[in-house]
């Protein structure tokens, strides 16, 4: 893992101190709410439907056991005993108070954490593959470049008041487990012939009301050129991105309106005119960071034949345990999607217990996935049974990673000030029904993602079955999209037709799955079936009973 030195520590300490001063000046009336809002947002503090919500950064989803323990402590001390892990690998506390936040930031700083740039119109927390450094299909560990980007973007003076938020994701493996192409900038690292990393830069992806898959900006950018190019890309966006309409302010709109070629020309014109010497130290810094991650890699162990005679344990091994790049280990995903659970929520006690497990069985390390689960990345194979038994005790052994009941959901109208409908109750009901169904039939590769408004925090556009909650004459109404994908074959799902009310939605989802199973050949996934047969068979299945009743 990356460990702070005195410089990193001084920076987060100073930021917490600065925020304390900003709160004091707000309370004294020296800053208006309009002016304070961007300042608090850049420290992760939202005003939601019922209370302040604090979003804490988990840079590229990596946590130490001590850090997770601290997150549990904060939930207990300053919130209502739980937190919510998000699709951007962060954690949110739903019930904080303005007067407590500076203290919370001090606590976070004490374990090398912060809430910097988890919201606001700035460069957000950089996300990556939750299995970085452990996945067998990895070409380049994406964490060193993610940390380099964290440092570059942290409090960057030019990019704190951008037209709109800016999200960056990095991958370094064959399979994209970070939804890289749905980010403002996506970076795919690979290994060049000389053993140095090369970076493909993608631009203009995103979800929200104008979902777009990113387009390739430039392939094979070298490490010394990476930050200069990114800095110039951000600068052209800051100078030319629209500020007249917040729905047209993301870089995807700028690139679409300018055209990729014109945007690229502007970026290179800016690069040609600038003194790049400020970036001279970046490759050395990358090497320093890389050495820290390399040192934390564990030595190989003798592989173990795991006893699979217990069917519950075997099912969990099949669904939740991933092959590891280092001999003798496995990566364990802890499902936060038990039957009827709130996706991504964990109690303080669960966080502390998982921290203990990580300390005993996973080199004191935990990851957060963009599908709102947790990972123990370094479990020795002969300790898998002990980890499983402990998770059963905690009620966290649901064997459903990558199955239909592993549902992504945003907080929705139960918490969020922007939401148009609830997400969580829909996810809870579907998780119960789909969990039953996937015991009987193969629902691998089906992703169900639920957003409570068009902003698409629940990634509904990128799901094989996406659900978007809308407000139709003050009633909740749920629109279904099909055949979206978040992986390396990223595509935006297609809207099936009119929405369903909350009561009829689950049965419509079942009929869509029935149609999928009937149409499926040779284990095809839903996106392939959809590509072959088109929308109509699914539409007929989903709406047929409703039309008969009408």
């Amino acid at each position: 893992m990356y460990t702070y030195d005195a410089h990193d520590q001084a920076l987060v300490d100073a930021r917490a101190h600065e925020f304390r001063d900003q709160v004091a000046r707000r309370l004294a009336g020296q800053i208006s709410e309009d002016e304070f809002k961007p300042l608090r947002l850049q420290n992760g503090l939202y005003l939601q439907l019922h209370a302040y919500m604090l979003r804490v950064a988990i840079p590229y989803g990596v946590l130490s056991a001590d850090q997770l323990r601290m997150l549990g402590f904060l939930a207990e001390r300053y919130d209502r005993g739980y937190g919510h892990f998000t699709t951007r690998q962060n954690i949110q506390y739903n019930w904080t108070q303005l007067s407590d936040v500076a203290d919370m930031l001090d606590h976070l700083a004490s374990v090398q954490m912060h809430a910097i740039q988890t919201s606001g119109n700035c460069i957000r927390n950089v996300t990556t593959d939750a299995y970085a450094g452990v996945a067998a299909d990895e070409w380049v560990d994406p964490r060193p470049v993610a940390e380099l980007l964290r440092q570059w973007s942290t409090l960057h003076p030019e990019f704190a008041f951008l037209p709109r938020k800016f999200k960056i994701a990095v991958t370094g493996a064959a399979e994209d487990r970070a939804a890289m192409k749905f980010h403002d900038i996506g970076i795919a690292a690979s290994l060049g012939e000389n053993g140095e990393p090369l970076f493909d830069i993608w631009v203009g992806g995103g979800q929200g009301r104008t979902p777009r898959v990113a387009v390739l900006f430039e392939a094979g950018v070298s490490l010394p050129n990476l930050l200069p190019v990114l800095d110039a890309m951000l600068r052209v966006y800051n100078l030319h991105g629209r500020r007249d309409n917040k729905y047209k302010a993301r870089i995807k709109i700028l690139v679409a309106e300018m055209g990729l070629e014109a945007y690229r020309d502007e970026v290179y014109a800016d690069l040609a005119n600038r003194d790049g010497s400020v970036f001279d130290e970046a490759p050395k810094e990358y090497a320093r960071i890389e050495a820290q991650f390399a040192a934390a890699q564990q030595p190989p162990l003798t592989p173990t034949n795991v006893d699979r005679t217990d069917p519950a344990f075997a099912a969990w091994l099949d669904e939740n345990v991933m092959a590891h790049r280092v001999e003798g280990y496995a990566a364990v995903t802890i499902s936060l999607k038990s039957k009827g659970a709130i996706p991504g929520d964990a109690t303080a006690d669960q966080m502390k217990a998982i921290a203990d497990l990580a300390e005993r069985h996973s080199a004191s390390e935990v990851r957060v996935t963009h599908r709102q689960n947790l990972v123990l990345p370094w479990v020795p194979q002969d300790e898998l049974r002990a980890v499983f038994d402990a998770l059963v005790e905690l009620g966290l052994a649901e064997a459903n990673i990558g199955l239909a009941s592993d549902i992504i959901a945003c907080p929705g109208l139960d918490y969020c000030a922007l939401a148009t409908a609830r997400s969580i109750p829909v996810a809870q009901r579907l998780s119960i029904e789909l969990r039953e169904r996937e015991r009987r039939e193969d629902l691998r590769g089906i992703t169900v993602n639920i957003s409570g408004c068009i902003n698409a925090c629940g990634h509904h556009h990128a799901a094989t079955i996406g659900i978007l909650g809308l407000n139709k004459a003050e009633q909740e109404n749920y629109q279904v999209t099909l055949a979206g994908r978040a992986d390396e074959g990223a595509q935006v799902g297609s809207i099936l037709g009119p929405g369903f009310d909350a009561e009829s939605l689950p049965s419509a989802i079942h009929r869509i799955l029935d149609a999928f199973q009937a149409l499926r050949k040779d284990g095809e996934d839903l996106a392939s079936v959809y590509a072959r047969v088109g929308k109509d068979p699914f539409k007929q299945a989903a709406f047929a009973p409703l039309e008969q009743a009408a």
């Binding site: 920076l11 930021r15 020296q30 300042l39 704190a160 008041f161 100078l239 400020v278 130290e281 320093r288």
Partner: protein
């Protein structure tokens, strides 16, 4: 773009010192929403004055940085308009030399907030300014102190 004299009631300098303002004669005035670095001729002797129409619009920071990169340390770049004390560090780290502050802004945000703006804000960033510095330079032994 017009040439005119501007008066700031107060001036915050890059050193963090807050002083009573003096007139800024013959400045070249830029609106970051409409002007670019090409509007400032190379070798210009006038100071450049960039106006922030809204604190939430950060274009002025990128424009200042472009000008600093192209013109070097001799160009005097001054900010005015809607900026918060909290943004003083953004301005200076982006290449501004001074911020003009009106009496109204001094009263609204508090003289103390302006006076201590650079001590309160985070000063040491990873990436250095055009003039040097930064945590990466210090870490890798290139800091000239």
């Amino acid at each position: 773009m017009t040439d005119q004299t501007n008066d700031g009631d107060w001036v915050l300098e890059k050193s963090g010192e807050l002083k009573p303002g003096s007139s800024l004669p013959d400045s070249l005035n830029l609106d970051p929403d409409t002007h670019g670095p090409g509007d400032v001729p190379l070798g210009i002797n006038q100071p450049v004055l960039i106006t922030f129409n809204s604190f939430a619009n950060g274009r002025g920071f990128s424009l200042a940085r472009q000008l600093r990169e192209r013109h070097g340390p001799s160009l005097r770049i001054v900010a005015q308009g809607h900026l918060l004390p909290d943004q003083a560090r953004h301005a200076f780290q982006s290449g501004f030399d001074e911020i003009l502050i009106s009496d109204n802004a001094l009263k609204a945000y508090g003289a103390h907030a302006w006076d201590t703006a650079l001590q309160t804000a985070v000063g040491a960033l990873y990436l250095g300014e055009v003039s040097g510095g930064g945590i990466w330079s210090r870490r890798h032994g290139h800091e000239l102190t």
